[in-house]
């Protein structure tokens, strides 16, 4: 009886201690690994509990070449025939013994894919994997003041076991606790990218940033792939005038002036005071030899002013010159 009476407060103390520790640990977890913690506490109902893209190929990295290896993994998954060695000349910077983020994005464009930097959220990364897209992540495996940047490709996850599966370095299937990944991922501000064929839209793509990504592909010189991407974009967001401008520009670049005109006229009907649409339509008509019509449109653009004023006035000069000739 006495023993029991003594035991009770001891037990209570123990319980209290465990409770406090758990509370502290929980607090620590949400401080150190806020994204993992919030995913654990409030799992989105529409996110699959686990997914793994087993078909994603693996290219073991040679010294310092995790950039080309990670990129080749994603490109090959998107049916681009390429090896890490081919990509060394496109992303590797010898004096830095590594590859830069910007160049990882840019190099994917050179192979006709649209590259997209994800929003810095663990949830978005998982959503991309669940939708069938492997994700390149930039981790910092250094300790303290030593930076040690490393690219890996996330190909799977399991929310119940809290694990992430990656193609990383020389490991074909690295199993990393999600909170450990969050810890090494944080220093890159949660940098992650996907590269997808132009007829696809990433699961987490935001309208304006996705459009800018397609414009980047067009800028890099791949008008054919960009055209497919704009058309796909317009199926999802038909009201976007800038996407119509992009689609028309890819037609214009290919010399398909009638197609460019058709797209721009439809865009103009939706947004009659778009300087860019007016200017580009005027240019297309003028290139078709219809300079009088073109002049009327470009005059409207001149009257509207704005950031493209000098480009517009150049177009006007060109049209006037063609009329005089």
């Amino acid at each position: 009886m006495i023993g029991q009476a003594l035991l009770l407060p001891k037990n209570a103390r123990l319980t209290a201690g465990v409770f406090v520790c758990a509370l502290l640990l929980n607090g620590c977890a949400s401080l150190l690994f806020p994204q993992t913690a919030s995913l654990r506490d409030a799992r989105p109902a529409d996110l699959a509990a686990s997914a793994e893209l087993e078909e994603v190929p693996f290219f073991p990295q040679t010294e310092y070449q995790c950039g080309p290896a990670a990129l080749a993994t994603v490109l090959a998954h998107a049916k681009v025939k390429v090896t890490p060695d081919d990509l060394v000349a496109q992303v590797y910077v010898p004096a830095r013994k590594g590859s830069l983020q910007v160049e990882m994005l840019a190099a994917a464009r050179r192979h006709g894919l649209v590259s997209y930097q994800l929003a810095p959220r663990l949830e978005d990364m998982l959503r991309e994997i669940a939708a069938g897209t492997p994700v390149i992540v930039l981790q910092n495996l250094g300790i303290g003041p030593f930076d040690n940047w490393h690219y890996a490709v996330a190909v799977g996850y399991d929310l119940d076991s809290g694990e992430l599966f990656l193609r990383s370095g020389e490991k074909e299937r690295q199993v990393l606790p999600t909170l450990l990944h969050e810890f090494v991922w944080k220093k890159s501000d949660y940098w992650a990218m996907v590269a997808v064929p132009p007829d696809r839209i990433p699961a987490t793509a935001e309208e304006s940033r996705w459009l800018a990504s397609i414009a980047a592909l067009e800028r890099a010189g791949n008008a054919r792939a960009a055209r497919v991407a704009y058309a796909t974009f317009l199926k999802r967001w038909p009201e976007n005038v800038n996407a119509s401008v992009g689609l028309a520009n890819t037609h214009h670049a290919a010399g398909e002036l009638k197609d460019a005109e058709k797209v721009l006229r439809a865009a103009l009907a939706r947004q009659p005071d778009s300087v860019v649409v007016l200017n580009n339509l005027a240019q297309a008509l003028s290139d078709e030899g219809r300079n009088t019509e073109a002049l009327a449109l470009v005059e409207r653009a001149v009257a509207l002013g704005g950031p493209f004023a000098s480009a517009v006035s150049e177009t006007r000069d060109l049209i006037l010159k063609r009329i005089k000739r």
């Binding site: 950039g67 300790i143 060109l318």
Partner: protein, 118 residues
């Protein structure tokens, strides 16, 4: 023509040749890239872009790339990307060698712990 003038002309031509690949493919049309990132001063941005492209290309060459490779690589970037890299090539992260340093430090710490702490 004096030799000074000749040299000046040659320099100008070299600079112009270096810039040519970065210029827009066709005149008159406002590019999608510009339309999407319309800033208050689109022309100024376009001029700056040409300059910073040749800057970044030069900086990449200084880090061990040949001229043609550097130019091709810069050509695949957007104006914004070029701006973000300009002058930052030594500072931005460069993903490279994976576990090596972390592993070395970890092994060092473990050895220290087991030899000196026990």
């Amino acid at each position: 023509m004096t030799s000074v003038m000749k040299r000046a002309l040659c320099n100008l031509l070299i600079v112009l040749m270096a810039w040519t690949p970065f210029q827009m493919a066709y005149a008159g049309v406002i590019s999608t890239d510009q339309a999407v990132t319309a800033s208050a001063q689109a022309d100024r941005a376009a001029v700056l872009s040409v300059i910073s492209r040749s800057d970044v290309s030069g900086q990449l060459q200084a880090l061990g790339l040949d001229a043609a490779t550097a130019k091709d690589r810069v050509a695949a970037m957007t104006d914004e990307e070029v701006r973000s890299l300009n002058g930052q090539l030594q500072a931005v992260p460069a993903g490279g060698d994976g576990w090596v340093i972390a592993a070395v430090i970890l092994i060092g710490v473990l050895i220290w712990y087991f030899w000196f702490r026990r």
